[in-house]
Structure formats: C-alpha cells, structure tokens
Symmetry: T
Subunit: 155 residues, 12 copies
C-alpha cells in the first residue's frame, strides 16, 4: 500500500450516464433498491482487492461525459460506462468511445431487451469491448473484473 505500488496501479474510469443519480428512487422493480452511492462503494471495495484505482463520474450532460472520455484517453487504462438514455441516441458518444483504445465495457442494470423496442438498439455496443446487461449492480463488479484482466494483458 506504498505510494510506489500505487504509481503502478491501473486506473479505471467509471462513467454513470443521465438519470443514474436517481437510483434507488427510480422504478425499483426495474433498477433495484441500491443507490448510486452504494454501487460506487461496492466498486471501490472490489477495486481495492484488485489493486485498481477508480475514477468515478456521473453526469446528465452529454458534453461533460464526452470531455471526460477524452481526458481518459491519456489518464486511464480501462473504462466502464452505463450510458443510460444516451445509449440509444448519441452518435457523439459512440465516436468518443471509438477513439478510446483501452478495454471498455458497457453496463446496463436492467435487461434492456425486455423493455421498449427503442431501447434494444445501442450505438455504443459495436465500439466497446463487450456488454453486460440485466445483472443488476453485480454487472458493474463483473465488468471491473473483466477490465482488470484485459488491461493486465495489455501491459
């Protein structure tokens, strides 16, 4: 736990898209009862175990998310993103993720394929490494494991 070892740690950028700040109060049947703070706490615990530094960010602003991904090109080694409603409408988000060259995983809490048709198409799925959906908050933890392992083999 010395600063030297920290210097060598990988940094993973975690981005929560629009409306995810409402977790816990928004349609619990669909999204579960955990708040975003609780999910971030679980992610932080798992990151400690895996020896990974987390950089967590939530915004309802598409432009702010684009800016953060751009920064992450240089100061992160992997990315986890739940794009929320931007999943289905933002070509700009797709373009930003397409430039991001490290492992990147798209996460959805709910099974988007059980919902309205307009949620079945993602602009993001075809430019990220992979997708995990419908596994609730655990989906984030599995994504973190996957990024950890894949960015390991990039070294």
């Amino acid at each position: 736990m010395s600063s030297a070892s920290q210097v060598n740690q990988k940094t993973v950028l975690v981005i929560h898209g629009p409306n995810l700040n409402l977790l816990g109060q928004r349609d619990p049947g669909q999204y579960g009862h955990m708040t975003l703070a609780e999910i971030n706490k679980d992610l932080a615990d798992r990151a400690t175990v895996l020896g990974i530094t987390l950089d967590v960010f939530q915004s309802n602003h598409e432009g702010a998310i684009l800016d953060r991904i751009h920064q992450g090109i240089h100061n992160s080694h992997g990315l986890i993103i739940n794009p929320g409603g931007f999943t289905h409408t933002s070509v700009a988000l797709r373009d930003a993720l397409d430039v991001y060259s490290h492992p990147a995983i798209e996460v959805h809490l709910s099974n988007i394929f059980k919902r309205e048709p307009f949620r079945h198409h993602s602009y993001v799925s075809s430019v990220v490494t992979g997708t995990i959906c419908g596994l609730g908050a655990q989906g984030y933890l599995l994504a973190l494991e996957a990024v950890a392992q894949q960015s390991q083999s990039e070294k």
Copy 2:
C-alpha cells in the same frame, strides 16, 4: 396574500426547451409573434389567479433540463414542458420525466403533426399525463389549468 397562504401554494415547474428563447424572431408563421417573456408574463398572471407558484426555466442544454426535472421531483407539484427539438430525440429526457410522479403536461406551440415526419414522434408523450399541441401560447394556459386541477385531486 399572506406568506402563510403562500406556503400552502402548489408549485408548478415550467420548462422551455432549446431554441424557445428565440420566440418572436423564429418563423412567426409557425410559432406566432409572442416572445418568451410575453408568454411567461401571461402564465404568471394566470398562476396568480389560480393561487399557484411558478418556477420557470429555459435552456438549450439537455443536461441542465434533466438536472432541473430531478430537483422538481422534490420541490414541485406539477410540470409543464415544451421540449422543443429534444421531443423527438432524447430518451434521457423521457427517462427523467418517467420518474417525475406528479401531473406533467407536454405542450407544443405549433401543430407538430402538420410538419416534417420526424416531428410526428415524441419520446415524451407516452410518459406524461397528457399532451396539448397546436393551440399556440394559449396551450400553456390550458396546461396550467389542467395541472392545477389534477394536482388538487392528488392532495
């Protein structure tokens, strides 16, 4: 007109979406000659009559509108929104309105069904209480009456 009575007043959030700040100079044949300030003035007068407090907001930033709806979940009793061009493209806006549990009415100044095909579909219509369109500035006043009555019966 005492402050005590004001404490008991219902608050209605009024949101004007992108480009609506241009009202009066943008295509008057389609949108009329009234400016946004004039519409807001009429709304304020009618609110006084109905004993309602208004919270009016205009922005061209989708994220800023989402933030404001989120705040409105706790500090308003009804909502009127003219989502402008976001009507047809924003799933994130739809998701935010879906969480909003008080009466909510979508207003369009022009009759969107008389315009280009891409304006005929609204992501918002199926998650709000109702829609008023094509009645010009009066549409806002009718929406205010509807919200006033419906939030009354929520008490």
Copy 3:
C-alpha cells in the same frame, strides 16, 4: 340573457365518435368513470359561462358524422371532435375536417401514446387546429375554452 344576445352567440359543434356512448361501463381504468351524459352536462355548464351555444352529437356511423360536419360548415363557428376509433382509419373524416374552416380541436380522453402502436397515428391531427389528449373529461372543457378564444379572434 335576452334572445337578442343569443342571436349573436357563437355555436360550437361537439362530436363524439364510435363507442363513446359506452363511457362509464367501458374500461374505466382507461376512460374514467364519467358517463357521456355527465361530460355533456359539464360542457353545457361551461358553455353558459362562456356565452356559447352547443350542438352535441354522438354516432357510431362514420357517414352520419361526415353529414354533420358538412352541415356545421354553415351553421357553427367552431368544432370539438373525439373521433374514437375513426381517428386511426378514416381518410374520409380527415377530408371532411379539412374543408371545415373554423377552429377545430381533436380531443382524446386517454393518452393514446401510452396505448397500442396503431393508436399512435391520427389521420385527423394534421388537419385540425390542435390536439388535447390524456387529460380525461377536463380535456373537453379546455378545448371549449380554446375554441371560444380562437373563434373570438376570427370575428
């Protein structure tokens, strides 16, 4: 309230389309508990206040509705129509309304955008002045106010 003043009153034609005679017994979750007689009573009360003469008509026959609209071209100053199931299937109804040159408003009790996809398209919306939907029986009253004001400015 002299007969002379009545001569100057505007007449508004109110048309209830197919199956609306069943209101109150048909799916109250969707259409509410009011009967058509109760709705017409509320409309009559509001018309008195606004100084308007009402001409109310219900039919399950498309042809009978067309005939009535044709008559209304000459003996009414505004029109409110809930076209029921004809909304989505009748080009002939659209053509009749297109000839009607006074203010005309389409009303739906339920929010048709929350229902089956075939109810999302209206042949009527693009030839009327405006549309009010999802506000239940109050929608009729708001429509009456709008017609009253708009036919005023036609004078």
Copy 4:
C-alpha cells in the same frame, strides 16, 4: 469437501450450442484460440472454487438442447447458454428458456453487435436474466460468478 457438503452444492447447467465444438479452428480472429475443452476446464476450476457442480453439454441439434433444458428445470439451479446460431432463429429455444425459472445467462464469445445485422437480434435476450457478450472465454467465468451469487439469494 465431504460428500455431504456436495449434496448441498448447487448444480449449474452449461449449454454450448451449434458449431461451438469447432472452437479453436473456427475464425480465431472472431472467437479466439481456446478450444471448447480448454474453456470447460477453466469453468470446472472456477466451479470448484465456488462450490458448484457443473453439468456441461454441447450439441448441434436444437431438439437435444430443448430436451436438456427441460430436464434442467428439475435438476439444476442455474443455467449458462451460448446458443450460437440458434440465438437469432429459434423461438422454440426462447420458449424453453422462458419456462426455466432459475437464473439463466446468455453468453457470446464475440461482440455480436460488431458483426452482421442478422446477429444483432436475439430471441433469447428478453427471457433470460441477463446477457454477457464480447468478453471472450472470460465471459463464461463471469457468468458463472453471477449465477452462483443469484442462485444463492434464491435459496
């Protein structure tokens, strides 16, 4: 590690669909260099750690896979399936999985959203608990973790 403890172990059914017996020789750029035997070996090792009994099955016969899922309704506690080409064409497979009431996860080695359009739609996604795709052989291990945790909370 006594047989008594094994009696209490959960059983997870793992089904590999058509053509997956060819792994290692089929398009390694798309599916990786691991053979199915190697993937099954990794799954067995992880199962031992998680205290889970695996029941692994591969077939190119749709009917044989349906039979196996039917049996699994009574003698398994979770299911992982890579339906291969049946993903996009089999309503019968969807129906069988819809009856299966324990946690079930769909896995794809490749990112099906980066491939031909007919691979973008899955009949299976909307009847399983969740989907993991594009993470290669690691996807199976993450699925096993998710099933283990979810069937735990079913107890």
Copy 5:
C-alpha cells in the same frame, strides 16, 4: 368394435411440437392447467366416439416431426398439428405440410395474436386446411371433428 371395422377406420396423425411436453407447468395463465396426457386422453375419447384411430406424437426435434409427416402421407387420412415455436421459424415444416394432401389443421392453445409480434406470423397457416387458435384444449377436439368430417367427404 370388431377388428374388421377398425380396418376401415380413418387414421388421424396428431403432432405436438416443441415444449408442449411441459404443458401444465408452463405459464398456466397462457396455456391452461391441463397436461399433455390429459389432452391426449380427451382426444382419444372423442376419437372413439367418431370412429377414428389416433396416432399421437410429441417431439422437440424439428427433423423428427418432418420424418413423421412424411410417413403420414401414406399411413394417415388427416393431420392435426400444434407446431409450437416452429410455427414462426420453419420453412422446412411448411414444405413438409405442403406435400401432405389430406385435411390438416393447425391448432394453438393460446391466442397467438394477443402475444408478441413475432408470434403473429405463421409459415404453416397458408398450407394447411384451416387454423383454430385461442380456444385452449377444446381447440384440439374441434379440430378432430373438422378433420373427421372433411376426410369423410374425401372418401
């Protein structure tokens, strides 16, 4: 009831497609509480009354069903088939039924038109004599009566 009279009896082939072996445990709200054995018992009783020999078959294997229809071309006089999920996906099943020249009736327990859109199209309907759907287990008995009468007039 002598064997001689049996020699003259018509034989009707009854084919139950994939997942129908699960009847009784699969979604009773959709498919009812009767098991396949109970349905077959009712069919057998009605066949005795009508003087018909039944040949009943269930399989989850598309190829096995094709083989059976091929055999039935020569050793049956009518056919009842509930193709289950193959209804919507199998051109091969359609081709096999197209060769079958005796009366053939497609049966569905549930009303497929009240379900997901992909169940609204049947490859089979346009090559059989007729279709009965949405009448539950009784649908099989009505189909048997229809085949009995129609194969009578073929004699």
Copy 6:
C-alpha cells in the same frame, strides 16, 4: 321444450359483416357454394340441439354492427362474428368487441392467411376469445359449440 325452459336458454348473437349477403354468388372457389340463408339454417338447427337461442344479423354498415354489439352487451351471452372486410380496417369494431365481456369468436370462411397480405392482419383477433378460419361453413358450427361450452362455464 316449455317456454319456461326457453327463458333460461342462452342467447348467442351472430353477426355477418359486409358483402356476406352475396355468399353463393361471390367467388365460390374462395367462399363455397352455400348461401347465407343456408348457413343460417344450419346454425339454427345446431342451436336447437344445443338449447341456444340465436340472434342473427347481417349488415354492410359498420355503424349498424357497432350498435348491435352494444345492444348485445346486455341481451346476449355469447357472440360469433365474421367481420368480412372490416376485419382489417376497423379500430371502432375492435373497440366495441373489447367491451363485450362474454365469449366471442371470430370466424372466417376462407383461410385469410392464404390470401393477399392485407388480409393477414386482423384488428379483431386480439380482443376476442379465439379465431376459427379456413374451415368454410363448418367454422360457424364449431364456433357455436365453443361458445355454448364456454358460456356454460360462465354461469
């Protein structure tokens, strides 16, 4: 066979839609050689056997059929309808049948799925109890048996 027993008989409303008055002279290859009078005679004979009172009606007027279904809500216990060309175009008919709460069966003489594509979709199928199609005039008799049995279990 006393009038008292008749009082207890169930009444079944039989509705023949547009152009069915032409049966016998319209395309016999598609619709058979029986006239509507002959079909009604067969239905009457079968009704006598089943102890059912029939109420038979044919019209080319959509509105007249809606009126009759509305009356049938209160004075019938079951309904059989061949909606003819209205099958594919009338949302108003669908709405009327949706209010009808007793068993209701849609009948088509011809196999509509073997005909033009615009005949493959029925607005009615998803709001009735079930559908029988392609079995010619016998389809009416089978429908009568089904309504008889189903209204029996409603008692």
Copy 7:
C-alpha cells in the same frame, strides 16, 4: 328515341363517394370550381349521345355504397366510381367491387400521386378494369366512353 330502344339501353351506375357533395366549395385549387350537380349534368348529356341510361348516387355512408353496388350487380351493365377517401381505407369496398363483373372504372378528379403519400395507394385499383386520374371533371366523361365501349363488346 322510342321507349323500345330505351329498353335495350345499357345502364351505367355512377357512384360519388364521401365529401364529393361539397365539390365547388372544397379546395378549388385541387378539385376545380364545378359543383357535383354540374358534373352530373355533363354526364347526363354525354349519356344521351351514347345511348346510355345513367343511375347516379352520392353518399357519405360506406354501407350505403356497398348496398348500391350489390344492387348494381343485377341492374346495371357498367360502373363508374370515385371512392373519395374510401379509396385508401376500405377493404369492404374492394370486396364489393370484386364481385361486380361488368366493366368498372375508378375516377379521381385530382392527381392523387401529387398529394399526400397515404393517397398513393388504392384498395380499389387492382379489382377494377382501369383507372383515370388527374383529368378533372373530364375524367368522368372519358370513363363513360370507355364503359360504353367495353360493355358493348360484352354483349
């Protein structure tokens, strides 16, 4: 011009569909300035020249038009129909015309292919002998000539 020669005259049924009673006051840019009475006068004059008896009918009721076509099967030798808005929505009208076995011509005053997309498809065109559109009131006269000649060759 003796009554004897009149007995031998062919009768042509002329049907004007919904809203055509409004000709002259409805959108003259689209439909011209002639009234329906003037068109019928011109038709009568031309019929006299051609030695044809006319039977002219206008209705806004689809059912009434179907009834009239049914009668015309036996008491006319040719048919001219401008189905108005029913052109694009009525399968029942198509079915009625399909039974009509004499020459039948569809006429449209305006060029429907220059108007809204939903007017580009006609349910009627593929079951009549031919179509004349966009030639204004003259289209009726040309249709009368064509029917006269074609029914001549039927004799």
Copy 8:
C-alpha cells in the same frame, strides 16, 4: 385541310417506351392482340377527326426519349407517353417531363396495379397532368381527347 389550317393545328407528341415495339407478340393476355402499328393507325384516325397533328416515336433508349421530350418543349402542344419499364425506374425521365409545360398524360395498356408490386409505383405520375391505365388501346384514344381539350383551353 388546307396547308394554312394545318399551320394552326396543335401538335401532340406520342411516345412509346421500351419493349412496346413487341406489342402483339408479348403476353397478349396482359397487353392485348393489337400491334403498335394498329394502335398508331387508330390514333392517326382520331387525330384527323380532332384536327390534331401527331408526332409518334418509339424507342428502347432512355436517352433518345429524353432528347425527344426536350425537342417537344418547343415544337409540340401536348404529350402522351407510355413509359413502359422506365415508369418505375427513371428519375431522368421524370425530370424531363417536369420541364415539359403543356398537358401531358401517362398511359398504361394493362392495369399496373394488378401486377407485380414494383410496377405499382410510377416516378412519372406526380409530374404529369393525369394518368389513364388498364383500358387497353382505348386508353390512348381517351388520352388524345383529353390532351386536345386541355391544350384548347391553354390557347
């Protein structure tokens, strides 16, 4: 019949598109038994009666037809065109006809709406004055009458 009167005659350009030179030997059930020479003879006779000069042209070359229409802008007063297969595929033909400012009528021998779906759409219909289809060779003669009358009123 003096050369002076001829100078004042209107000239009508008649264009027969690709494959029409084969008339008489191509599918007589669809196109009739008359040859193109016979049709042109009938047109010439009628033109004499109407006092019109004809300019007749047939080509299988799209470019040659465009050239001829261009010339016709200056040296004709009306146009009749049967565009054959170019009807459904040539935007260039549409553009040429759009420049042509005199009366122009599209003619089809067969009823194109009774044939393959790709023949149901015409690029030409919305830029000509009107369309006559399905009336065989008589269609040309009716077109000639219509052009004669319409170019008369242009004078």
Copy 9:
C-alpha cells in the same frame, strides 16, 4: 463441320452488360484477371465442342441491349446474359427477357450475395430459366452447357 451441318446448329446469344469491357483492369479481387476477350475465346472453344454457334455482344447502353434481345427472339435458340449493373435497376430489361421464350441463364462472375445489399436483388432472376453466380469465368461455360442441353430438349 460442313456448312450444311452448321445450318442446323443452334445459335446462342451471349450478352455482356455495362462495364464488362473493363474486365481485367477492374477490381481483380472481385472479378478475376481474365479479360472479356479471353472469356469470349473460352466460350468459342466450348461452343465448337458443343456444336453451337455463338452471337456475342457487349454494350454499356441499356437500349442497345434491349434491341439485341428483341432481335434474338427470332434468330437465336438460347441466351446467356451478365446484366452487370442493370441487374438491379432495369425493369425494361426484365420485360424484354420475359418475352424471350427460349432457355435463358443469368450469369454473375462475382458472388453478388457477398457484396453491397443493393446487389442482392435482381429484376432478372425471376424471368430467366436459372442463375449461376460466384463461379467466375467458369460460370459462363457451365451456362453454355445448360443452354445447350435445354435447347436440345426444346427441339
């Protein structure tokens, strides 16, 4: 090999459509390295063996190809055509081939189903005897064998 025997030889028309004159220099990965002259040489050699007279033609002009097919109706006994880009756009070409009553085979050098979607549909395939595609220059030779055999059985 006497001139007398040649008189009895069958003639096969070979048509190469637009851009095929560029073979050898156009995208050899798609079309191979052979020039059109080399392909014609191979066809000539094979024709000699089969006792067939060839009539070979290349053009970039659709009209010229139509003219040639028209001539071939009378002076050829079979036809091989590679329609190039006209395959996907020319209804006129389809119409010409539909009149051609001898065996006709469509050939494509490349596998058009592996290329852009707009090349997957052929207007020609459904009016010729058969299609050979994706077999390179050998496809022409196989087509010649097929035409030779099929025109033999026409005799």
Copy 10:
C-alpha cells in the same frame, strides 16, 4: 483405376436437406419428376468420369447436417449442398459452412426467385463459393464440374 489412384481421388460431400427425400412425389411442376435416387445415380456417373469420390447424405435434421459438414472439414475436398427449407432460416447452417474452407456450391432445383418472397433470401449464399439455381437436376452436375475444377486448382 488402381486403388492407389483412388487414394489420390478428391472426395466431394453432397448434402440434400429437408424434404428432398420426397422428390418425385412433391409438386413435380416445381421440382421435376426425378427421384433423389435418380439424381444421385447421375451424380455418381459423372463423378466416375471426373475421377471423384462422392459422399452423399440426406437428412431432415438440421443438427445431423451440421455434424456431417463438421466431419467434412477434414475428410472432403469440396461440398455441394441443397439446403431446402433451411436455406432461409438457419444461421447455424451458415456458420458451419463458413468454417468449411474448400470449394462449396449451393444448389436449388427450382428458381427460388420465382417463388414466395420468403424464399428469395438465403443465409447460405454469402458464405459459399457460388450458387446455381433453377436448372433442375442438371444443376447438381454443373456444380460437380465446378467443384472438380476449383478443388483441382487448390492442390
């Protein structure tokens, strides 16, 4: 013709899909009068001439066909397949053929482009070397020649 030379012979796998065992009794107008045994006899004769060993297989079971293609990867040098109804529905078959790296040709007896629309698309065409369709039983022989030549050049 010694066994040594046979050892060097190429082996071609010939697969006949579902319902092809019915050839001769199934719709001879579409598929011809030859039985499958006769077709296989002709293939065997041609194979002897070409010095090729045939391995012929027919099955109605998709899974059995997949198994056979998998085996053929190692013990054949070319493949001819008539996938019957699986052509249009099986992604799994497509995937198996995509792994097969030797020359492979898809054969259809009938011209699938002249039949129902759902037969116009093949999942197989874009992963095989080429396609021959509409040439009846001769199509198999031409395919054998093509495979023979192409596998020659692979040596």
Copy 11:
C-alpha cells in the same frame, strides 16, 4: 504557355448528365438562371488560371456517359460529374466511377436534401472522393479547385 508546358497539364473530365442541357429554362428557382454554356465558360476561365485542360461532355444517354468515363480512365487526371437523375438510379454509373482511380467529385447545383426523398440517396457518393451540393454554379468551380489540388498530390 508553350505547347511543352501544355503537354504537362493535367486533364480534367467534366460530365453533365441528363436534362442539364436545359439549364436556364428548367425551374430557375431550383437551378438558377445560368445556362450550361455559361457554366462551361466559367469553368474554362478557372481552368486556364489553374493550368488545367478541360474535357467537357453532356449527354442524356447513360451508356454514352459510361463510355466516356471508361475513356477517361486513360486520358484524364481527374473528374467532375453532375449525374442529374442518374444519381439516384444507376448502379452501372456507380460501377464505372468505382473503376476510375483519379480524384472524382460529384456536384449538384441544388441542395438535393431539400427536395423529394428519392433524391436524398446517391449511388455515386460512396465511390467518389467527395461531394459538393447546393452551392449553385460556384460548386463546379470549387470542385475544379479541389481536383486540381488533389491530382497535384498524386503526381
């Protein structure tokens, strides 16, 4: 300006497609008032400045344009084409341009995206270097500059 320097000049082929010879008289609101001769004059002046030799060609014949592009492969260094109506319908034109390996620019005088939907798709855009549209006659001059610069860097 010696002939030697001319030998080194680049040649740019300028192709004007169908109907462009009508410029100036065709819909000036859409295409401007300049004639084609005036546009060619401006191009010639700019070419002189840029030291480029122009080869200008207009035709209404698709085949003639293909021939010219084929010649241009060897005797030009760049190409500017306004394909007119062929833009939207000619795969053959696309194929010809795809072989052309020098810089090629598609020009449209009007903004095709403001016009009918069928003008929004170009077969040509995806095989040329770039597109300039909506800038009127200046578009040609900008295209010439771009070709000049790009062919410079090819040297």
Copy 12:
C-alpha cells in the same frame, strides 16, 4: 489593414462539433493527420486573403453550440459548421440553424456516405445553404470561399 476597413469586414462563425478536438489522434485513415489547430491556422490564413474576420469555436456540448449559433444570428454574416456526431441526431441543432438566415455550409472531413448507414442521414443538410464532404481539410477552405462569395451578394 486599418481598423476602419476591419469594421467593414464580414464575420464568419466557424463551429467544430463534438470530438473534433481529437483530430490528429482519431483514426487518421478516416480524418487525416492534421490537428484542429492546424486547420484553424489554414482557415485564418485564407480569411486574411479574403478580408474576412473569423470567429472559431469548438465544443462537445450541444447546448453550448446552440447558444453560439443564437449569438451568431446578430454578430456574424456567414457560418461554417462541422456538426460531428450531432449531424445525425440533433433536431435542436437543425432548428437553431433554420433560424440562422445568412449563408451556412455544412462540412465533413470524411466522405460520410462511405461509412456506417446511420451516418448517411443528416438533420442539418436540408436547412443549410449547401454541403461539402469528403474533401478533407480543404473542404473548410472551399466552404470559406463559398460563404465569402455568397455573403458578398447579400450585401
């Protein structure tokens, strides 16, 4: 170069949309090697030559771009915009540009018609003056020339 002359200079607003700040590091095969700073430098140099003042702006925030266009209505004389990913998804951007009444040109560095289908449609193209695409960084310079000339003629 006096301030007086500058006062008279036209101002052109140049807007670079989302992700364009990454130019040079994002997919150089698609977008070239120039950075945004280098492009802006070239634009500035050309502006100096043309006597134009530039106002350059880049943002990943849709709202910020809308704000800037609104300001530009009053303080610019022309506009060049590369909307990046917003091109295909932003109706709000379209609405803002629709209000902008000076010359406006859409620029794309890459040829968007050679890329994914969802990039082929632009919401912006039909409300700007014109479009230049696929000409790399030079496209900006040509756009500047066009704006300069067009705003000149506005004076």
